[in-house]
Symmetry: C2
Subunit: 313 residues, 2 copies
């Protein structure tokens, strides 16, 4: 058995396709603009075309391909293989599996992008060797994915793992895109951390961050690691709320591993030391004992690898 | 097919046994003192004896019994069929399945009591007809159980669903038995609500609760329903934190139904109206749309029915 799979991370800007073996090896990659402005049907055609292109690049005959896995951002009705809404893609009620199977002639599986990344990391990344994984990706927002018994947990209507919208600061928090006040992603996403730092700079606080042109989240972590008090306070607040949120999830889900993805996941001790401390402060001892917190290992490939695993499972 | 099962809720004070049919009908019940003081081996013998006694009471030959299900409080290692520790029973490292199968000669299944209750309610109680259920029992503490795809979710080391120890008031909260500050069960358990009311009475606050001898949690709900401002504030604070906690779990687990058990679950609108409001305030819209909050229906039988279902599944 060495099944061959094509997987595509369907983003609002790019279609990232990969030809992937059953062992999780990426044999070839392609990246095309999504061209959302051309409309749903044209994008579906482009997904089919990039799938065939990446297979060809890998020197695979299409007849050898066991199936195609897709990571698609949005809200999905998995019982009906339906993408109900994808804001990034401008889609409403797209029967994605039917549409793609008719174009490709092979079995198609899909899930949302954060779930696919969680599955990829559980398969051969930071959660490798574990059955129960929680993945949290710190980016523009906070993406979440839950893997239970090596399968993506989707919940009643596809909302399982929406960790970024846990309300952690209901009174003093900032408004989130979802309409809530104080969601975790307003606080602990890469964007949330950067915004908090920018605010302090704008207030004229005494910090080495004032001297940085085009401040990034990475700068905030680096200045905190180098002892800047204001940067350290910004990081501490974000990591405190993240650690508490992970403990709340931890006491509920009792995971074996919590995988942290996104840019800040590469920050090293300045992130993981306090994150572990806060997690252990708030989680039950036996829960804390069971759970490791680890950085993601697959970077931008997590999504395509997880989408491939959807086909291989 | 009409398999017959014996189930026992193994409590620190009583062994509650029931003879249960495959349809979930309780044919006979027995309740014996546990007699924990006689030691582990004697209690295991008593569990076997009450199992046979309730089968006889039901006019079943032991040979007809398909298996025995047990609800056992404590921390368990399910991979090894081991009760690692049960404070209530004074047990340490009891290979419960092996011990009971050798005494009974039929297959034995076990889980902790809160998980068994959640499974029972999902089977034929407040969660009937749903795959993904969260159960919260408001008693002396707060018990939690999670059912995913009609199976108890246990997590990495048996701590799945420890909802009562979600830290909801880390700064101003009271100390919990677990050592933490501000666990949900210090706030929203029947005991926590009563304690908050007693404190206000002791402070001399102007409330009709002052005239109640031997104040109970039920009184607090009733006086709140009848317009007593202080009782209403006590209930509002507890229900607010419970609703927020359920929303945090909701955004993570996206359940189809949240079943509320324990004494307060019978309080009616004075509980469910604000609980629904707070849940909907903090949960993502799509999560709130999917989840119903319902009272438990099986009362004290939830545990034995769930333990029976462990054998029948």
């Amino acid at each position: 058995m060495d099944r061959k799979v094509v997987a595509i991370d369907v983003g609002g800007t790019f279609l990232k396709a990969a030809a992937i073996t059953e062992a999780g090896e990426i044999v070839a990659k392609e990246e095309w603009p999504t061209a959302v402005e051309q409309g749903t049907s044209a994008v579906l055609d482009r997904i089919a075309a990039v799938a065939k292109a990446v297979a060809e690049k890998a020197c695979w005959n299409w007849g050898e391909v066991a199936g195609v896995g897709l990571g698609v951002p949005g809200f999905h009705d998995f019982d009906n293989h339906l993408c109900e809404e994808s804001v990034n893609l401008g889609w409403k009620n797209v029967y994605i599996v039917k549409e793609m199977e008719s174009r490709l002639g092979v079995p198609v599986r899909f899930d949302n992008d954060a779930n696919a990344a969680a599955l990829g990391e559980t398969w051969i990344g930071g959660g490798k060797g574990h059955r129960h994984t929680v993945m949290v990706t710190l980016g523009t927002g906070i993406g979440g994915g839950i893997v239970i018994d090596n399968k993506i947990y989707r919940g009643a209507n596809g909302m399982g793992g929406e960790i970024g919208h846990m309300v952690m600061e209901p009174v003093r928090g900032e408004r989130c895109n979802c309409g809530q006040i104080g969601c975790l992603e307003t606080i602990a996403s890469a964007t949330g951390i950067l915004r908090a730092a920018q605010k302090r700079v704008a207030e004229g606080q005494e910090t080495s961050l004032r001297n940085v042109a085009n401040l990034t989240t990475k700068d905030v972590f680096e200045h905190a690691a180098n002892g800047d008090r204001v940067a350290a306070e910004v990081i501490d607040y974000a990591v405190h709320k993240l650690g508490l949120a992970l403990a709340l999830i931890g006491n509920t889900l009792n995971p074996e591993v919590i995988v942290i993805g996104g840019g800040p996941s590469r920050a090293g001790d300045v992130l993981y030391k306090p994150l572990n401390d806060y997690f252990r402060k708030y989680a039950l001892k036996r829960v804390a004992k069971a759970a490791k917190i680890r950085p993601a290992e697959l970077g931008n490939d997590a999504g395509v690898l997880g989408a491939a695993k959807l086909v291989l499972s």
